[in-house]
Subunit: 322 residues, 6 copies
């Protein structure tokens, strides 16, 4: 769906902002990093519909920075100039450069946060067979730290921050891998987290505990939901079945139709003083997004209540439609 159309729809549904994705015609980061007219054009589209932008997202390129193996799945989602000849190490390096350019694009758009993925050199060992020596795991985290420190330095220079979406396939996909990723990246001031509970539900991670313990690192919130279905035949790992297949053990659904404890999440965000953007990421294989997106917005607005001391003014200030 073209960017202009997305903006029109989002505004019509009552959203007051967009988290712009760096793919399709939505945002070309290289143009945005270099071309003032292009930046003005993007901002004009938003302004025309009364929308703002608090974050841009570049998951696809970020994924390639650390990934192993690099294969056709990456070719399908990367810009052609990042894929290049497809040599894995070359792809990783070009992806790292593109992520730095994304920081410049964000700065020029006046956006403080880039949301995205990091990829991982050790994700493919998750089942631990063939056996994985401890040193291989250590090297995976070190590889992440070494590849991303330079990128994050560039973010610091641009005055923006990178928010990793904790997610399977990434260097941090649950509570303890997040703890270790934060540990190895040190206290880099340009690094933080994008909180999306939909990836935690099926892994058994409590989103509220996550928020309480990583409160100082939450830069962005994505609202997507997951519905579990346990019948003794469905499995947590998805059985290589496609989204929407009822034989899966879980599926992504529109926020409010799943098992995420939204009320506790919003009360906790409030309690820990989070005042950043709240995005609705809409992904549901069993529902048309033209129906789902406004429904999710309406659902989440019921939690947008001002607490007695009113510290939550910016809630729902930035929403997006992927």
């Amino acid at each position: 769906m073209p960017f202009e159309k997305v903006a029109e729809l989002a505004a019509g549904w009552g959203f007051n902002g967009l988290e712009i994705a760096c793919w399709g015609d939505h945002l070309d980061v290289r143009r945005a990093a270099a071309d003032d007219d292009y930046v003005r054009n993007r901002l004009d589209v938003l302004a025309r519909h009364g929308l703002k932008c608090w974050a841009i997202s570049n998951h696809l390129v970020g994924q390639a920075v650390c990934d192993h193996p690099i294969d056709d799945r990456h070719r399908a989602i990367l810009p052609i100039h990042v894929w290049g000849d497809g040599d894995p190490e070359g792809v990783r390096r070009r992806a790292a450069e593109e992520m730095k350019i994304t920081a410049q694009a964000a700065r020029r758009l006046g956006v403080p946060t880039v949301v995205g993925f990091t990829g991982s050199g050790i994700w493919h060992t998750v089942a631990m067979f063939p056996p994985v020596p401890a040193a291989a795991i250590d090297n995976g985290y070190k590889d992440f730290a070494s590849r991303w420190t330079g990128i994050l330095d560039a973010y610091g220079e641009s005055g923006v921050r990178f928010a990793l979406e904790v997610h399977p396939s990434e260097i941090a996909y649950d509570y303890w891998t997040t703890a270790r990723a934060l540990d190895v990246i040190g206290s880099h001031p340009a690094f933080g987290l994008n909180f999306d509970p939909s990836h935690m539900i099926w892994q058994g991670i409590d989103p509220v505990t996550f928020l309480l313990d990583f409160r100082d690192h939450i830069l962005h919130v994505d609202c997507k939901d997951t519905k579990m279905r346990v019948d003794g035949r469905t499995g947590r790992l998805g059985s290589h079945l496609s989204w929407g297949d009822p034989r899966r053990g879980w599926d992504f659904v529109s926020a409010g139709r799943g098992d995420a404890p939204w009320e506790a999440i919003f009360r906790t965000l409030n309690a820990i003083g989070y005042t950043g953007p709240i995005s609705i990421e809409w992904e549901d294989a069993g529902m048309d997004r033209l129906r789902g997106a406004p429904e999710a917005l309406a659902f989440l607005r019921q939690f947008d209540f001002a607490p007695p001391a009113a510290s939550f003014d910016s809630a729902f200030s930035a929403q997006e439609l992927k």
Copy 2:
């Protein structure tokens, strides 16, 4: 631990058989396939301790038949002649040949079943990001069928069968992937399943449902257990933490110390008429195996009750100690 020592211990603990592993000094399949003296020697060691053998296991080589990527993890576990120059496709082909030789070894040892792994060309896509087209999944199953049909033909010729241990990293790791693997391999008479509930517990698969629905394909039973620990921070995917770390969401433990419903499993094996071997596979990072193995045997013997119509005579007839 040398083969002779394992036999001595197993017999001392009360086991009446061994499932011989095709690694270490336990069993060299190439010698067993070609050298009558070697075969006689292996059988003599067993006989000296009053043990029999109903199955041999060759998980490590089987893993390499379909795997992608092939990397250092495989180098560490493969015989040097299978690894060769490490070229992935070469490794896969040599592993396939070795699995055929394993069938011959089994035949000469008088053993009807080889237990093992198949590897998988699509396991690394389990998180489904980067996005995986349906065709890529289809190709993964086809690759399995094409590589293993030839191997299974060799098994048929040797009069033995191959029992896949349903397990993460393999082409079949849960209920629906097992159903699909059976479907793509057709009704190959030399193919069946090794039932090990420890891999099902943490995925949410009900072992009894599995036994009821795949009753015609169960060739072998491995008894290993898994203990869950859910606290909102532990995750189902293990957090890249090593076995025995209490921050993991689950861990392998000695049979009877975990969450597998052993009594229901044994009553069901009895009800479906299973009369094959029962092996105890002992793996517990928090317990010495010299203590754990005899304890697990004692635990499982309480389920070895003769049903009123006594159809379960061979229970506990073959156990192994890895």
Copy 3:
């Protein structure tokens, strides 16, 4: 409530169809099978209110076809000409004839499905005391097959099908009795199932598993709900207490006020390609049906979302008010 009034109310609430019950003044199957004017009159009433009809239901007569014992409970619900002198075998035979006539009525109304009960000659043995020999159970299923095969042949000749509502008191009341009933009736093309999750919830049957495994036999869907209340004193069997008594372990409630997983049910109906009618059967001892019926309709409409590939167009096309 007179038929005309029901039609008026249903249309006013937004229903677009009626499942006509073959009792009261709603539908006299003998007249409908023989009298064109009567048929035209029924259809006219519907048309006047913009309603269609995709199914008629004749539970009461169907119940008597196999039941044992036949007693005052049946006298109270059967047409006088079916009850006759009350001799049990005579009642069963006349009920069987009436069910054939119902097929003719359906054909003349242009309705493809008759929903109903079968009764059961072995339901009264459900507690298995006094002890029930296996042969007695076998005979119960055979009795069902023999009495209904002739009826179903008549359905086949009329070009309509009979959908058994899986329900306590019937030959099929849960998952495995459904499997066996389908087995003994062979693959009679005029036989299928009416899916009503309210009878499954309190028995512990998963409605989604039921839909997945019997997907080829679902001819009709009835939406009624059940709410469990477990406190250690309430029992699953109802304690001979009347509907609405809070000491019961479960009770029928308006759809959406109970424990049926409606969203998973509708997503699964969609996934298995079900395109037949969806009826709302309203039964709630603690709520006025003038309030409950439109509420249930509104509740269920939230699941009537078009999936991305829009294969669910006829959902909610036929609703009824009993």
Copy 4:
């Protein structure tokens, strides 16, 4: 198994009493009520093995007192003189007489309690379809009261009491039906309850709540266990499947292998001052009773701990083997 053999086995396993069943060659109540030598012979058999008797059980005849329908199931379990010509009302009356004779047999054996069933004229309406008017339920309880008051008077005259085993098929099968049965039978001093938790587990009744609330009516305790297995396909009503079939939702198992909370049960019996007999009723389709009975005794003995004030001396004083 002949009575002498049962006594020998029970004594050998460590039981110190027998609950004698009034069927087989174990006890002929008509002879016991009239023939002193027969009584002496029975007591001699017990004495020879060091056993006592605190209760006799006559479930089979009791069942026929109120049952409807009376059919082949009853013929198979009743003494020939009770069945007679099989006319239902005649069977019921002869069964009532036999239950009075059982009281005399108990008196002459020096046994204070007869354990048994009552049957029920309304059990077959448990599914409440065809609809059951409230008056029909009322009549069922009245029928029980009227048939049993005379029997209980005879018990009172013999100085013994009748303990109804709360059980499906009986007038009292759960908490609230027990409350109503006690209510309609008034405070008849010869009426009480036999507590057997195995029938409560699968109905969702809490055995401890039952003991606390009916503490004044517990005359006897039977230890039998039930194991639930819920997988979304198994049902609470048993699916007309035979005992031991793994597709059932629950099954009887040897005490300690199921879900009854034995420790809480024994602590509560102690706390409410119960000092009567504890019988082990052994019933497990998947286990040989020659193995199961001594195992169950050993299991339950771990709860036979003397409380600090030692008020539980007679625990395990009377056990039986059916």
Copy 5:
């Protein structure tokens, strides 16, 4: 918030009554007991907004009648003339007198029920360490009976009744303490209970069981909710953390946002024939009450359905806003 303002808001939101609190400027019981003009003024304020009053509440003074220790917490909530010199026994006596005066105030306002607390002389022993002799517990209940019998006599003389809100800190805080409190106060006709499920949820008490068993004593219903959050670190006792802190194990929330089973509660109130007032007590640390109070009213109105026999006419007839 001034009384007039509360009345205006409540009426605007759709409430049709107020439960007036005896603190702030809402109600001065000494003036109400003596001054007809004051009474008329209060009633006029209500009438001006179309509101009625079915109950007044005086929790704060009631608390001091039995409490031990009496300390600064009481000073902060008691009228200055009740606190006086703060000598504990003097405070208790003056509080008792004030509760009698409250009865007179209720009578003159035409209100049949005073809702409130009793305090407790033994609550501080709840953890049972240092050890508490049984006699000390007995004395606590006796102290309650002796202090309140005189007060209740005064209520009886005024023709009004006192409804104790079952609540931690009070003589009755759960099921069994309620049973004992009712026992020691005998069958005093002026004593009854105020049902508020929010205090039961976190203690594990089932509100429906409470209603069924204490049905004859329920004089008033307060609707407040509690949300549990269990993560292995949160505790049932609250950790001395303030309301709204996400580290608490539970918190008060607006009715409908918590775990109280409202539908079962309202169906049960209906079934037991309760026709008294339903108040909404609004308390939620994470939500502005200007938003929460009307939301709770709307939420609860969905249960205000007339049952088929319409015996629930006065539901929601009296609501209050604290």
Copy 6:
């Protein structure tokens, strides 16, 4: 039971140490602090039975250091010289002095740890009604810090440490109060925790999470168990019912008969490198301790398995019998 008798029994049961209690004739701390012969005598008694001592416990006196109110419950458990005239502040000060003397006694006995309670000035506010200002809570923690800092300094001087048993009635009774207590006492090197899971189970605290997060502060482990019983009438707060009453929501039971996850606890103690003493504190109102204590020892020994790297040598080195 006299000290000599306890030692004899403990040794006979297989314990290899005693945690000596500072009450009865077991240990007089004032004599032990001053009289070498007395110390030698105590050690001789142990030596005679082959026992060692790794900790002494002085819960009763410690309780009085911070408690409010001080009342008859304290008089009943304090040495007469500590109670004195019973003036609360005087009692607190004398108790503080006695705790310092206990440190000296420990030093002279060669024991590194004193286990005990601290009391609390704010425990009585746990229900938060009457309302408790935040400042009152703050003051409670400050009072603890100020009273205990001096005591702990004396411990430091004696080279021993004080281990607070986290327990209701104490300044730390759950996870978050423990965190705050550790925070306010700073990093006093003489302060640590006694881990006893029985107080955590009924509060919903996960013992394993507690061990992981407070791993650096665990000085001692007490093994006592708690069994929950939830039926909708039992409450978490105990209903002022005595131990052993089946109407309670939970009760202390012998280790292994309750709900504590002992296996996970011992594996975690091992994983965090705990090598201190393991005591069995035996408390079970429904069981004679002459039976319970050796049973608990046998139960816990099954977890005393050496891990592969054998780092747990001193497990079960010190047990006590209270």
